[in-house]
Symmetry: C2
Subunit: 400 residues, 2 copies
């Protein structure tokens, strides 16, 4: 099968490309290197060193004897998208190529507008190109569990049956996204659903939880094949941050009470889920949604698990929540569709925590403690943004 991975230079895109390549598929990678640019802009870096894409691909060829095609360009460039699809003629497209940080989207007006335009226009261009080049292409789009927010009822997979005033219909699940980034994903979902309806496209929207883990069977074969490990206040995820804080002897910073509960999954399960989705495409015209996570944890539970797993002493410290979100809430979300397709989850156990702590420990000399602090506040319209090096006074500039 020919599989095109959009955002194939990123945290999940790259290991996904390797995984499909090793499984015998013809793999192409599309990337604009926007993700690497964000690092330069914010003055941060992946904890694990990342080599340039061309070197990753060359090393993969040396290690595995397999080639990966690369297409350098941006999805907001309509002609580039169409040309790439015409050239590669994919059977499936796995679309990771979006600005994916909630804090980044909340930095200020410019970053909010950028995030929505980048994500929405990129996906619109993709939909038009698929419709015109080959409507049979299966679009596997990465969404997020954050599209749903935290309603006080069970979250279903994309759709919900509603009985109202004596009548019943199955309707798109109501969304309550919590950042301009999460909103962009909701906009995408609505656009994709519509494109499936009017043009008969087929798409799987994977509403993914927070991914942890950095080592996949292919990525560990050579240091050049490693994928990112982000722990900074803008692009880092919570478990990575806790592991880094533990190894550098800093208290684990929990936002508010730490009752925020989210679906999570192992990076190896991301690869398995994407593979299951690609292997069982929906019918022409079908738009389906899978909730892609395996377990739910509160932030405080994660902190306590890291405290238990780390051999040394670790403290937990509560900091003011920079987001506007419920710190205590109901959370129960369906996630059976991928299990039904055959997913066998890797659960978050001592082994995974030890492996994450080992990654953090191995690269502890690369840790920038200043990068960890949450500098973007939801209630401000313009948060602090480093331009030439971070400010050292620990103060955020207020816009009002």
């Amino acid at each position: 099968m020919r599989i095109l991975v959009l955002g194939g230079d990123g945290y999940l895109g790259w290991p996904t490309a390797l995984h499909f390549s090793r499984a015998g598929h013809e793999v192409g990678v599309v990337d604009s290197f926007a993700r690497r640019q964000y690092d330069h802009e914010m003055g941060v870096d992946s904890l694990v060193p990342i080599v340039p894409l061309f070197r990753r691909v060359r090393t993969w060829e040396e290690v595995a004897g397999l080639t990966i095609d690369t297409f350098v360009g941006d999805l907001t460039d309509a002609e580039f998208v169409k040309k790439t699809l015409r050239e590669f003629r994919p059977h499936a497209i796995v679309h990771f190529a979006e600005q994916r940080s909630a804090p980044y989207s909340m930095i200020d007006q410019k970053h909010a507008v950028y995030t929505q335009v980048n994500n929405v226009v990129g996906t619109l261009n993709l939909l038009y190109s698929i419709a015109e080049v080959d409507p049979d292409i299966h679009l596997v789009k990465l969404g997020t569990m954050g599209e749903y927010g935290t309603p006080n009822i069970d979250i279903e997979e994309g759709f919900i049956e509603i009985t109202h005033r004596g009548r019943t219909d199955v309707l798109p699940y109501p969304k309550q996204p919590g950042s301009f980034y999460h909103l962009s994903k909701v906009h995408d979902s609505a656009n994709i659903m519509f494109a499936c309806k009017i043009w008969g496209l087929r798409s799987t929207d994977l509403n993914q939880g927070i991914v942890y883990g950095q080592e996949t069977p292919e990525a560990v074969l050579h240091p050049d094949l490693a994928t990112r490990f982000d722990y900074d206040g803008v692009f880092g995820t919570v478990l990575n941050r806790f592991c880094v804080q533990a190894v550098v002897g800093h208290p684990l910073t929990v936002y508010g009470s730490g009752g925020q509960t989210r679906g999570m999954l192992d990076i190896r399960d991301t690869l398995a889920c994407v593979e299951l989705a690609v292997g069982a495409p929906p019918a022409a015209g079908e738009y389906r949604v899978f909730n892609q996570f395996t377990e739910s944890f509160s932030v405080m539970q994660l902190a306590e698990m890291v405290v238990d797993a780390y051999p040394g002493r670790v403290d937990i410290s509560s900091v003011q929540d920079p987001r506007v979100e419920l710190e205590e809430h109901y959370y129960r979300a369906a996630h059976t569709k991928l299990l039904d397709l055959g997913l066998v989850p890797h659960l978050l156990d001592q082994g995974m925590l030890s492996s994450l702590l080992a990654v953090a420990d191995r690269h502890r000399d690369r840790v920038d403690p200043d990068a960890i602090r949450a500098t973007v506040e939801w209630k401000r319209t313009a948060s602090w943004l480093p331009t030439a090096g971070r400010r050292s006074d620990g103060l955020a500039r207020s816009s009002r």
Copy 2:
């Protein structure tokens, strides 16, 4: 009160500005003249002649002795928006300034992307400017009943109480918009709701039905004060099209079976609804939704009403529906909130139909019969677009 009308040169924006001006408010009008550009692009024109904005404003001063401030610029220009708000310091903003045609958004990829970027970015810029200049400003945003689509249950006003697996929550009403334009309005609604939540803004989202009528108490005072009357296949609305077809002796073109049912309202009720919303602002942080229509009609019902109202003979002819929509469906939508605020509707009666037919008749020499045909098809990714004059062979170019 200082009221800023965005899109104040348009079909509804202009009469709204006049209405508030006569009611004693200080009124400013913002416009980029994008709407006039669309006419040039499509090679069509308002049936009723429209003079330039500066002449409209000058005539209003002569006729009514009242001044209206004008701000020429585009909402996608972030600096312009901020500067305008700082200068005019409005108490309320009435936001009509969006690309508002479903067929226009479906012409091709460029027009779909334009519509979503124009509408979403304009509204995002507005939200940021309000938050930074004065979060107390009441944003009255024009949405559309088309955001809901045609679910098989009753449509509520913005939110719905859902009981699911033994728990209950009030959630945003699920949306099923039917064009890239309607999708842009759904995206806007989600962005505005979020801005109210995080920054404490106050906003009223008016999900408006299809507006008919061209004469308002102020607009009839002088020919220079007239507002648009669109009947063409891209920007025209169904009742206008039927009236024009009746007076030129063309069969009324009903799409498909004509069972498509939509909420509608008189242009005078639009002005009344906006005034009621402005007069009773929501609390800080509140995002509220009013369904702004007074009656529901199917397309076939409208055609039959025009047949009955026109003194001469009129036929009805079914043409293939260019849209992807249900031609027969359940439709019942709540619209009590504006009635509760005091709206007294003008219903669609013989008098209104006669007035619309009289407008069409008065300008019958300006009718371009070629402009009426629906040239944009939802199932095509690139529909026929006139560049230098319309093609006369009656064929749409296919993209596939």
